[in-house]
C-alpha cells in the first residue's frame, strides 16, 4: 500500500515551504525515519523524514513551493528493498523510443552520468555542446560533450559504452552532481547498421515513434520559434505525434530546475521580452550570461566591495627597453625561438620588486596574512569567452625566454579555451596590459584574493624634461591598484617606483640593484 507524505505544519505563521533538495530519488528504497528531503521555509530549513520504509515516489521537484498539507511524496510500503532497482528500470522502459533501440548487445543497465566535480570553487557548469547526438552509440571514454565552467571548458568522456540518451540540453546550467545524460550500456561492438534497420522494421508503425513524431506543422513551428521553444520538448498530439498548432500554443518553456529558488527567478525574466511591433534601431537582444561572465561579474564586484582598493600611478621611459629589444631581437629569436616582448621585462621587474616589498605579494586569509616567497604572476588574457588569468609559476626563477614561452603557451591555450583550472588557480600578483587595446591610463581591479595588480598601458611619445631639456621619449603610464588593508602607501608607491627603475635601466635587473 501507498503512504502519502504531506508537508507538516512547521510553525504558526508558516503557510508554505520550498523544497530545497531531495536526498532520495524517486524509485529509491528508503528506511523509516531516514531523511528524504530538505524543506525551506522563510524562517528556517528543516529535514523531512520518511514515515515508513518503502519505495519512494516524489510528487514535487526541488524548487517547488508547496502549501502546508500538500502531498510531497508517496512511499510504497509493500515494496521491499529489492524492488527499488526494477522500479527505476520500469520507468526507463516506459518510453517507447528507448525500448525500440534495445539492440542485441544491451545489458539493460543504464549508466547515469552526472556533472563531475571539476574544481574547488565551481558549483555549476553550462552544457556548451553535445558532440554526440541523442541515440548515438558511444565508446567508453569517447568525448561526448563540452562543458563550460566559469573557469574553463572541459570535455566530458563517456563513462560507459552504449547508447547515449541526453538528459540536459545545450545551454542548460547544471549543478555539480546534476544529471547530464544516461548511457544504455551495450556490451561488445557497436550495433551494425543493418541490425539497426531490422529493429526499425519490426517496430509497429503505430507506437508513436514514427519518423514524423515531434514534427511541427508550419503554423506550430512559427509559434514555437517565437516562444523560443525547441520542438523536441513539446509532446505532439497530432497523428503519429505531430505537433499541432494547438500543441504549440499550449507549449511552455520547460521550467529550469535549479535547486535554489532565487535562481528560478532569473530565467523567468528572460522569457518576458516581447519583440516590438515594428522593429528598428530600438531592438535589444537578450542572452543568458555564461557561467564565466557571471563569475567575472561576481568577483569584480566582490573585489570592489571587500577590499580597500586604491591606485597609484607612475610613468616609465620605455626607450632603454625598446633599444635593448631592437638590438637583441633577432639574436633572441634565433637562440630561443620566441619573440622578445615587453612581458618578460615587466614580469622580471615585478618579481624583483615583489621580493623587496613582500606585502604586495601577500594575501589576507581570515585574520592572518599569508606571505609568499615565490612569485606566481597571473597574466590577464582576453579570451573569446571573456577575461581569463593564467598563472606563470615561480616567475622569479624563470629566464626571459622561459617567461616569453610561457606567455605564448598560456595565451594560445586561453584563446582556444583549453586552459585547465590548474593553470588558472593560484597566482600571487597580476599583470594586465590594457595598452594592447590602446588604453592610456586605467585603474585595474585586484584579482582576489591577491592584493595588488599592475596595469600596463600604451606607449606614447611625449615631450619630457630631461636635464633641463625637452626630449621626445616613448612613455608608458603604469598603475598599481592595491588593497590598502594590507599594503601601506609607502610600500605600494615604493614598489611601483622600483618597477619603474628596473624598467628604465634594465641592467639593474641583471645586477639586482
Amino acid at each position: 500500500m501507498s503512504l502519502e507524505i504531506k508537508v507538516p505544519a512547521v510553525g504558526e505563521s508558516i503557510t508554505e515551504v520550498t523544497i530545497g533538495q531531495w536526498f532520495k530519488n524517486s524509485g529509491d528504497y528508503v528506511e523509516m525515519d531516514e531523511v528524504i528531503c530538505e524543506l525551506e521555509s522563510d524562517k528556517a530549513t528543516f529535514e523531512l523524514t520518511a514515515e515508513a520504509a518503502g519505495v519512494l515516489t516524489t510528487k514535487a521537484e526541488a524548487g517547488d513551493t508547496l502549501e502546508i498539507g500538500a502531498v510531497i511524496c508517496e512511499i510504497d510500503t509493500n515494496a521491499s528493498e529489492g524492488d527499488a532497482a526494477p522500479a527505476e528500470e520500469k520507468k526507463e522502459e516506459s518510453k517507447p523510443a528507448e525500448k525500440t533501440s534495445n539492440g542485441g548487445g544491451k545489458t539493460g543497465e543504464v549508466k547515469d552520468m552526472v556533472v563531475p566535480t571539476v574544481g574547488e570553487s565551481i558549483t555549476e557548469v553550462t552544457l556548451a555542446t553535445w558532440l554526440k547526438e541523442d541515440g548515438d552509440f558511444v565508446e567508453l571514454d569517447e568525448i561526448i560533450a563540452e562543458v563550460d565552467s566559469d573557469k574553463a571548458t572541459f570535455e566530458l568522456p563517456a563513462e560507459a559504452q552504449g547508447i547515449l540518451r541526453h538528459v540536459a540540453a545545450e545551454g542548460d546550467t547544471l549543478e555539480i552532481g546534476g544529471m547530464i545524460c544516461k548511457i544504455e550500456v551495450v556490451e561488445g561492438d557497436a550495433p551494425s547498421e543493418s541490425a539497426g534497420e531490422s529493429t526499425a522494421e519490426t517496430t509497429p508503425s503505430s507506437n508513436g515513434d514514427s519518423y514524423a513524431a515531434g514534427h511541427a506543422s508550419p503554423a506550430a513551428a512559427k509559434i514555437l520559434a517565437e516562444k523560443g521553444i525547441d520542438a523536441k520538448s513539446v509532446k505532439g498530439t497530432g497523428k503519429d505525434g505531430r505537433i499541432t498548432k494547438e500543441d504549440a500554443e499550449k507549449a511552455q518553456k520547460p521550467a529550469p530546475k535549479p535547486a535554489a529558488p532565487q535562481a528560478s527567478k532569473a530565467p523567468a525574466k528572460e522569457a518576458a521580452p516581447e519583440a516590438p511591433k515594428v522593429a528598428g534601431e530600438r531592438n535589444t537582444k537578450r542572452e543568458k550570461m555564461t557561467s564565466l561572465r557571471k563569475t567575472i561579474s561576481k568577483r569584480l564586484v566582490a573585489a570592489k566591495n571587500e577590499t580597500a582598493m586604491l591606485t597609484t600611478f607612475n610613468e616609465v621611459n620605455m626607450k632603454p627597453i625598446m633599444d635593448l629589444r631592437k638590438q637583441y631581437k633577432e639574436m633572441f629569436k634565433e637562440k630561443h625561438n620566441v619573440n622578445l616582448g615587453f612581458m618578460s621585462f615587466f614580469t622580471k621587474a615585478v618579481c624583483v620588486a615583489l621580493q623587496e616589498w613582500p606585502a604586495v605579494n601577500a594575501q589576507i586569509d581570515g585574520n592572518e596574512l599569508v606571505y609568499h616567497d615565490f612569485c606566481d604572476v597571473s597574466i590577464a588574457v582576453s579570451a573569446p569567452k571573456g577575461l581569463v588569468v593564467p598563472v606563470i609559476r615561480n616567475a622569479e626563477a624563470l629566464s626571459f625566454d622561459q617567461i616569453e614561452k610561457e606567455v605564448v603557451r598560456l595565451a594560445t591555450k586561453a584563446r582556444d579555451g583549453k586552459l585547465t583550472i590548474e593553470e588558472m588557480t593560484g597566482g600571487t600578483f597580476t599583470i594586465t596590459n590594457g595598452g594592447i587595446f590602446g588604453s592610456m591610463m586605467s585603474t585595474p581591479i585586484i584579482n582576489q584574493p591577491q592584493s595588488a595588480i599592475l596595469g600596463m598601458h600604451n606607449i606614447v611619445e611625449r615631450p619630457m624634461a630631461v636635464n633641463g631639456e625637452v626630449k621626445i621619449l616613448p612613455m608608458m603610464y603604469v598603475a598599481l591598484s592595491y588593497d590598502h588593508r594590507i599594503i601601506d602607501g609607502r610600500e605600494s608607491v615604493s614598489f611601483l617606483v622600483r618597477v619603474k627603475q628596473l624598467l628604465e635601466d634594465p641592467a639593474r635587473l641583471l645586477l639586482g640593484v
Binding site: 514524423a212 520559434a225 497530432g238 505531430r242 516581447e274 519583440a275 522593429a279
Partner: protein, 466 residues
C-alpha cells in the same frame, strides 16, 4: 515623407509585402516604375499568359474534341484581336484590384523609378523627370526580373521577341521558333501551336523543363508532339538572323553539325535575369553578386542592415508564389515574428496542357543524395474522370522514403495538376507518408484520385485501379 517600410517594386512579392506590413501596423509605401501595379506577374507574365492559354485551350478543344463530344461547329476561327483584348481586360481587372488593395490598406503608391540615395532614402523619379525623396526605416527591394538573352541575339521585338511581345501578337505565326525548352517557352509555344502555328523548340539540354523530374519532361514532350511541336534537343543556338519576314536560327547539334531552322518569329525564352537597373543599390552599400542577384542571408537581409530583398531579384526559383512567401517572411521578421519558409516545398507549375506540377525532390535529386526511395505511378489513362473529359495524357508520380514511407517528392503531369499539387504540398508540410494519403478518402470521380492511387502504388504497390 517618412515611412516604416518602403517596398520597391509592386509585383506579387512587393505588393504582398506592403499589405502584410500595413496589416502589422507599419506606415508603408510602395514604389513602382510602371504606370500599373502588379509587376511582371500581372502585366506581362503569369496572368496574361494564363488568359491566352485558357482562350486557346477552348479553341483547341472546339477544333479537335468537340466533334467527338457530339458538338458540331461551323466556321470556327480565331479572332486574335478579341483574344488579346480579353487578355488585356483580365490584366486590367487584376492591376486595378491591386490598386484597390493598396488604398484599402492605406499604402502610399509612388509611381516612378525608385533609386537609393542612401540606406534610408529613396528617390522616386517620375516619367516627366520630376522627382521626390522618401525615407524609410526599412526597405525591401522587390524589383524582379527581365527576360534574359544571349549576347549574339539582338531582340528587335518585331520578329525576334521575348515573352512580353508574345503576349500581344497581331497575327498567329506560321512557324514560331522557341529558343529554350523551359516553362515560358512551352507555355507560349502552346498558345500559338493550338492556334495552328508550327512550333519548333531549340534546347541546349537533353530534355524539356530540365529543372523538373525527367519523367515530366519526357511526358510533356510526347503531348506537345501531338500538338505539332518539333524538337531540337541538345542543340546549341549559334546565330539568330532577322531577314525581314523570315527569321533563321542556326544551331549546332550534338555531333557538331550546323542545323538551320527557318520561321517567321523567334521567341527567346532562355530564362530571366534579376533586374536592378536604376536602383543605384551601391549608394546604400547593397551588394549585388556577379549573377546580378542582390545578395541576401537566410533572413533575406542584404549586406545593409535595414534593407531586404525578395523574389526574382534574389537567389532561388523565379516564381510569384515564392516571392509572396518571402515578402511575408521579411515583414513578419521586422515585426519581431519568426516565420520560416520551407524552400523545398515551394511547388513549381507549368501551364501547358497537360499541366505539369511538382513539389519536393526529383528522382534525380534523390539518387544524387543517395536516399533510398520507392516510386508509385498512376497514369491518367486509368482515371475515370480523365477519360470522361478526354484528358488522358500524363501521370502522377510519388516518391517516398524506402524505410519510413514519407513522401519526398510528387511530380504530376496531367489535367488540372497545377491545382492538384496543393494537396501534395499540404501532405509534405505535415510530413505525411504515402500510406497516409492512400488512407484518406478522395472524392470520385476526380483527378485527385490519381494522387491517391499513386500513393497506394508507392506504399506497397497496391494501386486499386490499374
Amino acid at each position: 515623407m517618412k515611412y516604416d517600410l518602403i517596398v520597391i517594386g509592386s509585383g506579387p512579392g512587393g505588393y504582398v509585402a506592403a499589405i502584410r506590413g500595413a496589416q502589422l501596423g507599419m506606415k508603408t509605401a510602395i514604389v513602382e516604375k510602371y504606370p500599373t501595379l502588379g509587376g511582371t506577374c500581372l502585366n506581362v507574365g503569369c496572368i496574361p499568359s494564363k488568359a491566352l492559354l485558357d482562350s486557346t485551350e477552348h479553341y483547341h478543344n472546339a477544333a479537335h474534341t468537340f466533334k467527338t463530344h457530339g458538338i458540331d461547329l461551323k466556321d470556327l476561327k480565331v479572332n486574335l484581336k478579341q483574344m488579346i483584348a480579353r487578355k488585356d481586360d483580365v490584366v486590367k481587372q487584376n492591376v486595378d484590384g491591386i490598386q484597390y488593395l493598396m488604398k484599402k490598406n492605406k499604402i502610399d503608391v509612388h509611381q516612378g523609378l525608385g533609386s537609393f540615395v542612401d540606406k534610408n532614402t529613396i528617390k522616386v523619379t517620375k516619367d516627366d523627370g520630376k522627382s521626390e525623396e522618401i525615407t524609410g526605416k526599412n526597405i525591401i527591394i522587390a524589383t524582379g526580373s527581365k527576360p534574359s538573352s544571349l549576347p549574339f541575339i539582338e531582340i528587335d521585338k518585331k520578329r525576334i521577341i521575348t515573352s512580353t511581345e508574345a503576349l500581344k501578337m497581331n497575327e498567329v505565326p506560321k512557324h514560331m521558333i522557341v529558343i529554350g525548352g523551359g516553362v515560358i517557352g512551352m507555355e507560349l509555344g502552346s498558345v500559338y501551336a493550338r492556334m495552328g502555328a508550327k512550333v519548333s523548340v531549340v534546347e541546349f539540354m537533353d530534355s524539356l523543363i530540365p529543372s523538373m523530374d525527367k519523367t515530366m519532361g519526357k511526358e510533356l514532350q510526347k503531348s506537345l508532339k501531338k500538338l505539332g511541336f518539333e524538337f531540337y534537343l541538345k542543340h546549341k543556338v549559334t546565330a539568330v538572323k532577322n531577314r525581314g519576314k523570315e527569321v533563321t536560327v542556326t544551331a549546332e547539334n550534338s555531333k557538331g553539325e550546323a542545323v538551320e531552322v527557318k520561321g517567321d518569329y523567334v521567341l527567346v525564352s532562355i530564362g530571366r535575369r534579376p533586374y536592378t537597373e536604376g536602383l543605384n543599390a551601391e549608394a546604400a552599400g547593397v551588394k549585388i553578386n556577379d549573377r546580378g542577384q542582390v545578395e541576401v542571408d537566410e533572413h533575406l537581409k542584404t549586406s545593409v542592415d535595414n534593407i531586404y530583398a525578395i523574389g526574382d531579384v534574389v537567389k532561388g526559383a523565379m516564381l510569384a508564389h515564392k516571392a509572396e512567401e518571402e515578402g511575408v517572411l521579411v515583414v513578419e521578421q521586422l515585426a519581431g515574428q519568426k516565420p520560416h519558409i520551407n524552400y523545398n516545398l515551394i511547388p513549381g507549375v507549368v501551364y501547358t496542357w497537360p499541366e505539369v506540377a511538382a513539389v519536393g525532390l526529383t528522382e534525380e535529386q534523390l539518387k544524387e543524395k543517395g536516399i533510398k526511395y520507392k516510386t508509385g505511378k498512376f497514369p491518367f489513362m486509368a482515371s475515370g474522370r480523365a477519360r470522361a473529359s478526354m484528358d488522358t495524357d500524363g501521370l502522377v508520380k510519388v516518391l517516398a522514403d524506402a524505410s519510413t514511407d514519407e513522401i519526398l517528392g510528387v511530380h504530376m503531369i496531367g489535367p488540372r495538376t497545377a491545382d492538384m499539387i496543393a494537396e501534395a504540398v499540404v501532405a509534405m508540410e505535415y510530413r505525411a507518408s504515402a500510406e497516409d494519403i492512400a488512407r484518406m478518402s478522395h472524392a470520385h470521380p476526380t483527378y485527385t484520385e490519381a494522387f491517391k492511387e499513386a500513393c497506394l502504388a508507392a506504399t506497397e504497390n497496391r494501386a486499386l485501379h490499374i
